[in-house]
Amino acid sequence: MTRAVDIQGLHKSFGDLEVLKGIDLAVDSHEVICLIGASGSGKSTLLRCINLLEPIDAGSITIAGEEITRRGVNVDDTRRKIGIVFQAFNLFPHMTVLHNVTLAPHEVLKASKRDAERDSTALLERFGLSDKASDYPDRLSGGQQQRVAIVRALAMRPEILLLDEVTSALDPVLVAEVLDQIRELAEQGMTMIIATHEMGFARDVANRVCFLHEGQILEEGSPEQIFSEPEQEETRLFLDRIIAAGRM
Amino acid sequence: MRKALLVLAVLAVVATACAPKTSTPTSAAAGDCTPSTMNLHTPGQLTIATGNPAYKPWYGGTSVAGSDWKSGKYTGDPHTGEGYESAFAYALAQQLGFTNDQVTWEGIPFGKSFAPGPKDFDFAMQQISITPQRAKAVDFSDGYYDVNQALIADNGSPAIGVTTLAGLKDLKLGAPVGTTSLEVIQQEIQPNVEPGVYPDLDTALKDLHNGQLDGVVVDFPDAFYGYADQIVGQFPPLSGGQEQFGLAFEKGNPLVSCVNQAIATLKSNGTLKQLENQWLQTDASVPVFS
C-alpha cells in the first residue's frame, strides 16, 4: 500500500534561523497524525512545507508515491490533492459561504457551476451549515467560519487534510463544534495531519502522536504511549506544563 | 467662549476700520498734456502693455538685448520700433513729448488689459477691437486702425478656391480667442462645423499646419506675413460697423484725452497712413467673400 505521505530528511530555514532540522515522517492512508509541541517548534512550518507554501532547503516530500519536492512539479496540481485549513480561517470576505466553497471546484476542477453548487450544498448540509450558505463570512461566528473553512478544503476532495491549530483562535465555547467535525472526518477515514494544542482531542482521535521539539520529532507513538508514558525528558516537561495550564 | 467673543470683537473693529477710500478723479484740462503733468503710472515714463509673444506685422525687428520678447519667424520685439503698433507707439510717445527711452513695455496676458483694479501700465496696445460691451470695463482711445479679416490656408486645403461665405460653411476653421476673427466666423460664416478657438495665434497656426484645421481667420495684415501658404480671401466688414483697434485704459484715466489729441494729430498729418503703408501690406486685389 502506498504511503499517503512520506517525508524524509526535511530541513527548512528562514534566513539564519533553522526551523526544521531533519524531519522524517511516514503517514499511511486513513491515518490521523497529531503534531504537538510548543509554539515555535515548527508545527506550522512543517504543514506549510507539505503544502508547498514554503520551499524546503533539503530533503523530500512524497505524496501518494509522487515526489512533490522535485524540480518541475506542477505546484497547483499538487495543492489540489492536499487540503489545508489555517488558524485564521481565511475565508474570502467578499463572497458568500457557498461561493467560498464552490470557487475552487469551479475554477480548478472545472466543475460546472451547477455541479459545484450541488456538491457544495451537500457538504455544507452534512456539517450542519446549510442555513448559512448565502450569508457572508462576517455574519458567522468564529466556530462556524472555521467549519466552513474545513468544508471549503474538503470540497476539493483532497487526499490528505492538514489542519494547523484550527481551534487556537476560537472562543472556548466554539471549539467543541469544530472538534466534532474533525472527529467525524476521522471516522470517515480522512487522512489527516493535525497540529493542535487540544490534548484531550488528540488523545481521542489520533492514531499516532508526534512531539515536535526545536525542529525535530523528538518522540512519536500511540496516544497512550505519549500521554501516559513519555520516554523523553522534554516530552514530559511539555506535558507537565500543559497539565499545569489546565489544558488536559 | 470668551476667546471666541474676543476674536469676533477684533474682526468687528477691523471691519469698521476698512472704510472705503474716496477716490479722487483728476480731470485733465487742455494744457495738462505734457510728460510732467499728465497722469502717468510711473512719473516720467510712458508704460505700454502688450502681449508676449508679440506677433508680426504689429511688432517686428530682432529682439533687443535684455528684452523679455523673443523675435522669430512670426514674432518681434516692441522695443525695436519696427512693426505697425511698435512704430505707432513711438510716434505717439513722441507726439506726447516723450523721448524714445522714456517708453517702457510691459508683457501681459490679454486678460490683464481689462481686469478690474489699478493697472501696472498707462494703456494696453494689443490689436484690441473697440466694442460697446468692452467699453463698460475699460476706457478706449479713439480708433487707430480700421480692421478687416482674411482667411489663410495651406496648400491642399478644401478652403482654397472658395469665393463665397456659404462655401466656407462646412470647413473646420480656427481663430484665436477674443479677436474679431472669431466674431467673423460666428457672424458672417455661421459654419456647420464648430470652429477651433485657441488661446493665441501660435496654437491656431500649429493646428492649421497639422491638418487639424482647413483655414485660420486672421487680421488682414497678418495674412501677408506668410503664416500659411495662401490667402483665400478677405471678409466684408462686420454688421456692427467698421471695427477699429483702440488703446485700452483704466476706467476714468484722464490720460485718454491727451492720447486722443495726439492720435488726432497723427491722423491729420498723415503719420498713421504712412505707418500703415510702411508696415502693413493690404492688397486690394485679394477677393472679398460674397
Binding site: - | L8, L11, P116, Q133, K136, G196, D207
Partner: protein, 303 residues
C-alpha cells in the same frame, strides 16, 4: 434646595445657576428658557448659528467696504453677464462631461493593467515591472497641461494611420495617460493591503496565481480603494478644462471666449459654480463612504 411648594417666583432667571437641582444636569439656567435654558444641546445650536452669522457677516462687511469692491463686483459678479453666459457655458460643459467620462473608463482599465504588471512576481517579469514603474514615474512627473500640449500638437504631426485625427482624441488620450499613472498607484496600494493569508488560502486550494489575483485579491483590493479612486476621478473632472489649449470648445474655452469678448470675468465665476455644483456632492459621498467603512470596522472589531 427642592421646595415642591409651587413654581419659583422667577421662571426666566431663576437663581442658583448650574447648581439648581430642579433643572436637568448639564443645562445652564442662566439662559432664558426660550433660548434653550434648561437644555444644553439647544443652547449649543444657538451659539453655533450666532457665531457663524456674526463671523461671516463681518467678513462680508470687510469685503464689501473695501475700495475696489464696486469694480470687482461689476467685473466678476455681474448679474447680466451671468445670466447671458451661464446657459451657453452649461451647454458646452456637456463636452467636459463626455471627455471625463470616457477618460475615466479608460483610466480604470489601463491603471488596473499597469498595477497588475507592476505586481507580477518572479525574475522573468522584470522588464514588465520596470516598464510599469517607468510609466508611472513619467506621467506623474510631468504636469498634466504639458502632456496635453505635447500630445495634442505632437501626435497629429506624427500622422499615424488608424487613429482618428481629432483634438478630442488627443485630449482624452492625454488625460487617460496621466490619470492612469495615479490610479495605478491607488490600485497597487489596494492590492498590497489585501492580507497575504488570503493569497495563501487561495493558492492552497489549488488556484493559480492569476486565478487568485482575479477572484480573491482584486475584488477585495478595488473595494478598499473606492474613496481614493473617487477622489482621483474628481481631479480628472476638473482637469477636463485643461483641454481648451488644444482649441476644443468645451466649457472653459467658451467661458474665455465670452470673457475676452466682453472684457468681463463673470463667465469664469459661472463656470466655477458649475464645477463646484458637481464636485461637492461627490466629495460628501466619499466622506460618507469612508465614515461607513469606519463604522463597519468598529462594529466588527467590537464583535
Amino acid at each position: 434646595m427642592a421646595s415642591g411648594s409651587g413654581p419659583s417666583p422667577n421662571v426666566y432667571f431663576p437663581p442658583g445657576g448650574d447648581s439648581d437641582p430642579r433643572l436637568p444636569p448639564g443645562s445652564d439656567s442662566r439662559w432664558p428658557k426660550i433660548l434653550g435654558g434648561g437644555d444644553s444641546s439647544a443652547r449649543n445650536v444657538w451659539i453655533a448659528v450666532g457665531s457663524t452669522v456674526i463671523f461671516f457677516g463681518l467678513i462680508a462687511v470687510i469685503v464689501v467696504r473695501s475700495p475696489g469692491w464696486p469694480e470687482i463686483k461689476d467685473s466678476f459678479f455681474n448679474g447680466a453677464e451671468f445670466r447671458s453666459s451661464f446657459p451657453v457655458i452649461l451647454e458646452k460643459f456637456v463636452r467636459n462631461i463626455f471627455i471625463f467620462c470616457v477618460a475615466e473608463v479608460l483610466v480604470l482599465i489601463l491603471a488596473l493593467i499597469i498595477a497588475v504588471l507592476r505586481s507580477l512576481p518572479g525574475p522573468v517579469f522584470t522588464p514588465l515591472r520596470i516598464m510599469a514603474a517607468a510609466y508611472t514615474d513619467l506621467f506623474r512627473g510631468v504636469p498634466t497641461i504639458l502632456v496635453i500640449l505635447l500630445l495634442g500638437f505632437g501626435m497629429p504631426a506624427l500622422d499615424l494611420q488608424g487613429i482618428p485625427d481629432n483634438d478630442y482624441v488627443w485630449a482624452i488620450m492625454a488625460l487617460t495617460l496621466v490619470y492612469s499613472a495615479y490610479v495605478a498607484e491607488v490600485y497597487r496600494a489596494g492590492i498590497q493591503s489585501v492580507h497575504p493569508s488570503q493569497v495563501a488560502a487561495a493558492r492552497s486550494l489549488g488556484l493559480s496565481r492569476w486565478q487568485s489575483m482575479r477572484h480573491v485579491v482584486l475584488p477585495q483590493a478595488v473595494r478598499r480603494v473606492i474613496p481614493p479612486l473617487l477622489n482621483d476621478f474628481i481631479g480628472l473632472q476638473k482637469d477636463s478644462a485643461l483641454v481648451y489649449v488644444l482649441g476644443v470648445v468645451e466649457a472653459l474655452n467658451k467661458a474665455t471666449i465670452i470673457q475676452q469678448g466682453d472684457f468681463n470675468f463673470t463667465p469664469l465665476v459661472a463656470l466655477s459654480l458649475i464645477f463646484i455644483a458637481i464636485t461637492i456632492p461627490q466629495a460628501r459621498f466619499v466622506d460618507w463612504l469612508i465614515a461607513r467603512d469606519q463604522r463597519k470596522r468598529q462594529s466588527s472589531a467590537a464583535v
